[in-house]
Symmetry: C2
Subunit: 275 residues, 2 copies
């Protein structure tokens, strides 16, 4: 998917919601657990009820790898299901890969060809030649970690390197590797003013924003500081949506939570005259 | 495996060789390619001929993920085969993972429980809470990226943060997270003098050293600068061993290359009075 297609989808659905498929077998309804592939079954029902409100899905690979080859199969089935039923939706493999060139080239094939995801999250520590192999695939995206939302982001990402902080240096350097047509950045929403500073630095790039709850309060400030003229945000919610209920009504309740977020996003997009 | 067991194995085998199982289906002998699981079959034969010279195997997950669930199965079979036939050998899943705590906890289960590897390579960018979940498994290890051997290591790892360079800061900070009984570091061998500086900083930690060819010249300087009183090194060779031949004799030739490196390592260990 290219940038224009993503922007069109955002405008059509009036949403910049990414639903995180961090599917934990211990948190899904008992009734599904006896099935042959409970994780895929859960995802399928979640997707059926949330797809009209979401522009992206983000399966996190750790939650699949924990079940080995069988888990990887659930991941493949999930991506295939989205591609078959909702081809307009942007699929992010949240895998945080990155290695020497030859190895990254294999990860790129794994996620862009074999799995058929549209985007992959990538860690920046190993530098340009660890990221470049992911940039050679048409209409596929790198989403590079810049500022993460966890406490540990304090350990290195805020270190001063010259005039800048490390995460700002990562952003600055990485924009010389790829344009906003091929690269996005993970920018946590813990301190929305920082998101504002980063938006000023990078007016054209999309940001994937994790760590926003289903409450809506956060969403207002993320939008205030993070929106670009084309929206430029994918805001992720995982647990708030997929575990809204762990009873028979889990999919309907997930749909309700996704719709609430979509409605808040619609308001925000109108307020900022993006739609 | 604990540190003492690893050191004993090094002394018994007179080797600190790690064989990288970066198995690429396009580089393995034609005769294997018609088999049901050519990657596992290749690995099995390589293991049979190299195990007496190696103290560690390091499958790189990218080379398995590129074949999806089937590739993951080849990886599981490979680890199982090593555990069943050479239980003394240290298995490193070279996966360079790292994510927020909850997600890292799932990666830890994936690699330490499901896959049963002894160690996992981990990326430092997301900080302490992204690494800690990997430290809660008895006799399992984190091998944290510090200084990598690729060209892109220049982009961020050498940035000055205060008095230190970023990779030195990563080393310094990470040693407050775990002792040398639980953590090792990836330290590239591109500039052996740097390895020497890092060894001075951290006399007790093991280093996993990639980027050493089968030529032996490199090995001399890596040993000179990197050895600790207990050896403290695992030196990896991948392509120089596993692709020594792509003909019917590939496993024998791999064994030859592994033996040559082991013999050089034996000399080095004697010269440094470690054995």
């Amino acid at each position: 998917m290219n940038k224009q297609q993503l922007i069109e989808q955002i405008k059509q659905k009036k949403s910049f919601l990414c639903v995180g498929l961090d599917t934990d077998i211990n948190k899904i309804p008992q009734t599904l657990q006896a099935m042959d592939d409970p994780i895929f079954e859960f995802n399928k029902q979640i997707i059926n009820k949330t797809a009209e409100y979401a522009v992206a899905y983000k399966p996190n690979t750790a939650f699949y790898e924990v079940y080995g080859a069988k888990g990887w199969q659930s991941l493949e089935r999930t991506v295939q299901y989205i591609k078959n039923n909702h081809p307009e939706i942007f699929i992010i493999a949240d895998a945080k890969r990155g290695d020497i060139g030859n190895t990254s080239a294999n990860y790129a094939k794994a996620f862009f060809n074999s799995l058929n995801a549209d985007a992959l999250t990538v860690a920046p520590y190993m530098g340009k030649d660890s990221v470049e192999p992911f940039l050679n695939f048409e209409d596929k995206w790198v989403i590079l970690l810049a500022l993460t939302s966890n406490k540990g982001s304090q350990d290195f990402q805020y270190l001063k390197v010259g005039e800048r902080m490390l995460h700002e240096q990562v952003l600055q350097t990485a924009t010389t590797w790829a344009s906003s047509e091929k690269m996005m950045f993970v920018v946590g929403a813990t301190h929305p003013e920082e998101l504002g500073e980063i938006r000023k630095m990078l007016p054209d790039y999309f940001f994937l924003v994790p760590g926003v709850g289903a409450q809506g309060g956060d969403l207002q400030s993320v939008a205030k500081y993070g929106l670009s003229k084309d929206c430029g945000l994918l805001v992720n919610s995982s647990r708030g949506i997929i575990y809204a209920s762990n009873d028979y009504d889990f999919a309907d309740r997930a749909g309700d939570e996704a719709r609430k977020l979509q409605q808040q996003m619609e308001t925000v997009l109108r307020d900022h005259q993006i739609i």
